[in-house]
């Protein structure tokens, strides 16, 4: 907790004969973060992939293309024995390949036929009202054929230039078909051009257009039926083989990873050297496994970590299970560096706290909690699960704050006493209890806390929470700096901020008359300022106002919450207004619709707005004070089996 896992650098050396066994063992443990070797002129060369690499990758390509044709997605398949998968692999793969290829080819053939019919239909459509066989449009020696569209009837105009013509004209589509003698072609063309004549393509087909079009429909339906049948077949194949495909994909991926591994390893003529990282507490386990696999012929040595290497140490989180979902949120920003504090556990506390403070509504908490639990149960994805866990934590916090605020979908549960009399709450007889009056704003603090009527107090309270959070960040920054650059640097860079704040606080106390003088405050402030300039340079002065804006930034804890209350209560107001003022079944249905739709919208906003703002307070205000991040992910060489077992 609060620190990434301690890592050790391990180097494994051995004779090339046992390279395969060593790699096999390393892959099986899934512990060793393999460091790629770059040829650096030391005489060592990159290794060559094992012999089976080509064959394995060929099979993978074949399998994956089948899998993408069938549209196979990850699922909760029962685990299969690796040996059975391997023994079936070749025969099944061959069979699957021929079947799937045949089916997909057939399908694309049918689909292209369908498309052809489609274009033909489009080409024929303008001719549909003209009762001339399509073969009569072609192959004349002495007759010219015009087929196209015009904006109005050309008959009268044509009859002026020639008497020997045959014409069909469709008023609706503006299609004209004109047969004239070859010698009249030029004249006719000239006339037609005055009528915005646009030539149509004459489809290469015979028969009356109308009957043809009618025939297409049944032909299309026929093809579609064949395609559907093929799809059903494919679905059957998919259902039958999807477990096999997932399992063999896994087996092949493992094989490929092992076969390609030598490419990352330094080798000489007879030896190999594997360089990498392993969690410090697993070193002996690694040694044992390598020794057993190679009969002690490979040598594992743990290296001293040099200072220049600290930046490349892969980072593995070291958190208890409860806080682990928040690693996802850390990764979204950046992994910590090796020598840095890992704030996952801190976010685990403050992120749900802030989220709950913002939303604080029993109704939304219950809705979102149910939703999160349901999604977690139904969706089996490694990316979604941690996020749902985070959401669940947040909703528990929201529920607690909801009880504190006594709000349900924007309705106050308790009665509210104001200067203009008292308003009853949703629960009859639930009275607000006044506890005490705040010294800051003179507003009475009550249970439940009516956020809408304690704005001033809440704003000041949230800003104070902000100051606390920020200073906590400075303290963490102090620890980080001290660890890396010593006490003086830490005091000047991070401690100075605390001194500056102390100075401001003392000066304010003096100004308001609580402390006798404000001079001390100003002196402390100046000392802090000098330290700050020494620590971070003169430019740091520009950052001084950020102290104020950062603290005020936390007022969003109340402001965003209020905006969500106002949206909810507006929805409630509209819905109830519809029922009370109009009555009747129609108004009631309308009111229910408004209520559901409005609150559904607000529920969505309730994930986004509080989540983003709580996140931002962590990332910008909090992390800005101490966190650098940028560590490499610990990515051990190995594979976590999901569909197979040895």
């Amino acid at each position: 907790m609060l620190k990434p896992k301690e890592m050790s650098r391990a180097i494994i050396v051995g004779h090339k004969e046992i390279m395969e066994e060593t790699i096999e063992a390393l892959h099986g443990t899934n512990l060793f973060h393999l460091e790629d070797y770059n040829e650096d002129g030391s005489g060592l060369k990159l290794g060559r992939p094992f012999e089976n690499a080509g064959e394995v990758s060929k099979k993978i390509v074949q399998l994956r293309s089948i899998s993408s044709f069938l549209g196979i997605s990850k699922s909760d398949a029962p685990k299969q024995k690796e040996s059975t998968v391997i023994s079936d692999l070749d025969s099944k793969l061959e069979k699957l390949d021929t079947e799937v290829t045949e089916k997909t080819e057939k399908r694309s053939e049918l689909e292209s036929k369908l498309k052809e019919l489609e274009t033909l239909k489009k080409d024929l459509a303008p001719f549909s009202a003209i009762p001339i066989d399509m073969e009569l449009y072609r192959n004349y020696e002495n007759i010219a054929v015009f087929a196209g569209t015009v904006k109005e009837d050309v008959g009268p105009a044509i009859s002026k230039v020639t008497s020997a013509y045959e014409m069909e004209y469709d008023h609706n589509s503006g299609t004209v078909v004109l047969f004239v003698k070859k010698e009249d072609e030029a004249k006719t063309s000239e006339v037609l051009s005055n009528f915005e004549y646009r030539e149509l393509r004459i489809p290469e087909i015979s028969g009356k257009p109308q009957t043809l079009i009618a025939g297409f429909a049944s032909e299309e339906a026929n093809i579609q039926k064949q395609i559907d049948a093929l799809e059903t077949d494919m679905q059957a194949i998919k259902d039958k083989y999807s477990e096999f495909i997932l399992a063999s994909d896994e087996v092949l991926s493992i094989k490929a990873e092992k076969a390609e591994a030598p490419v990352k390893i330094a080798t000489s003529e007879h030896t190999f050297i594997v360089d990498g990282w392993v969690p410090a507490d697993s070193v002996s386990k690694l040694e044992n496994i390598v020794n057993t696999a190679t009969n002690g012929r490979a040598y594992v040595s743990v290296q001293e970590i040099e200072k220049k290497d600290t930046d490349i140490i892969p980072i593995e989180y070291d958190n208890p299970k409860v806080t682990r979902p928040f690693q996802e949120i850390m990764d979204l920003y950046a992994r910590p560096k090796y020598k840095e504090i890992d704030p996952t556990a801190l976010i685990f506390l403050s992120f749900p706290l802030f989220y709950g403070m913002i939303l604080g509504d029993i109704g939304y908490a219950l809705i979102l909690l149910t939703l999160a639990v349901a999604i977690k149960k139904m969706v089996n994805s490694d990316a979604v699960k941690p996020l749902m866990n985070v959401l669940i934590y947040c909703q528990i916090s929201t529920l607690i704050f909801g009880i504190l605020y006594a709000e349900f979908l924007g309705f106050p549960l308790a009665s509210l006493h104001t200067d203009h009399g008292s308003i009853p709450g949703l629960i009859a007889g639930f009275e607000t209890i006044t506890l005490f009056t705040t010294p800051i704003a003179g507003e009475p603090i009550t249970y439940p806390i009516h956020r809408t009527h304690l704005v001033m107090t809440m704003i000041i309270a949230t800003a104070l929470i902000g100051l606390l959070h920020i200073n906590f960040g400075y303290i963490l920054g102090f620890i980080n700096e001290k660890r890396n650059h010593g006490f003086t640097a830490a005091m000047l860079e991070k401690g100075s901020w605390i001194v500056v704040e102390l100075g401001i606080a003392l000066a304010v106390l003096g100004y308001t008359g609580i402390a006798p003088t404000q001079v001390i405050g100003i002196i402390v402030f100046l000392i802090g300022l000098v330290m700050l300039i020494k620590g971070e340079g003169a430019i740091a002065v520009i950052e001084l106002p950020a102290l104020l804006s950062n603290a005020l930034s936390y007022t969003r804890l109340i402001a965003v919450g209020l905006s969500s209350i106002y949206i909810a209560s507006t929805v409630n107001l509209i819905a109830f207004d519809m029922i009370w003022s109009q009555g009747g079944i129609v108004a009631a249905i309308g009111a229910i619709l408004v209520f559901i739709f409005g609150h559904a919208l607000n529920t969505v906003l309730s994930i986004i707005a509080p989540g983003l703002h709580a996140l931002r307070l962590q990332y910008v205000e909090f992390f800005g004070k101490f966190y650098e991040g940028g560590g490499r992910k610990y990515n051990p060489f190995g594979y976590i089996r999901k569909y197979t077992e040895e």
């Binding site: 990764d331 979204l332 920003y333 950046a334 704005v455 001033m456 704003i459 804006s549 005020l552 930034s553 007022t555 969003r556 109340i558 402001a559 965003v560 209020l562 905006s563 983003l612 703002h613 996140l615 931002r616 990332y619 910008v620």
Partner: protein, 79 residues
């Protein structure tokens, strides 16, 4: 003494408050929007090239939200 003309031109303080609060939220909202527009489109562009920038882009996009939050706080203080 207050004559009819001055009463007519005198404005209701509650109304002025409401206008002030409205301006505070509205103008800061516009300002946040303008700022977020540029950041957002740049962030999407960056994400198209490298999906792992989502986190950074998200943070950068919400940064100007502070402006409208301050506006909202001011509006709450006025009303």
């Amino acid at each position: 003494m207050v004559d009819a003309a001055t009463t007519a031109t005198m404005m209701d303080p509650a109304g002025l408050k409401a206008i002030g609060a409205g301006l505070a939220v509205g103008l800061t909202g516009l300002a946040s929007g303008i700022a977020e527009k540029d950041i957002g489109s740049a962030a999407i562009g960056a994400m198209a090239e490298n999906e792992s920038l989502f986190g950074k882009g998200l943070i950068l996009t919400v940064i100007p939200e502070t402006i409208v939050i301050f506006g909202l706080v001011v509006a709450l203080l006025i009303s």
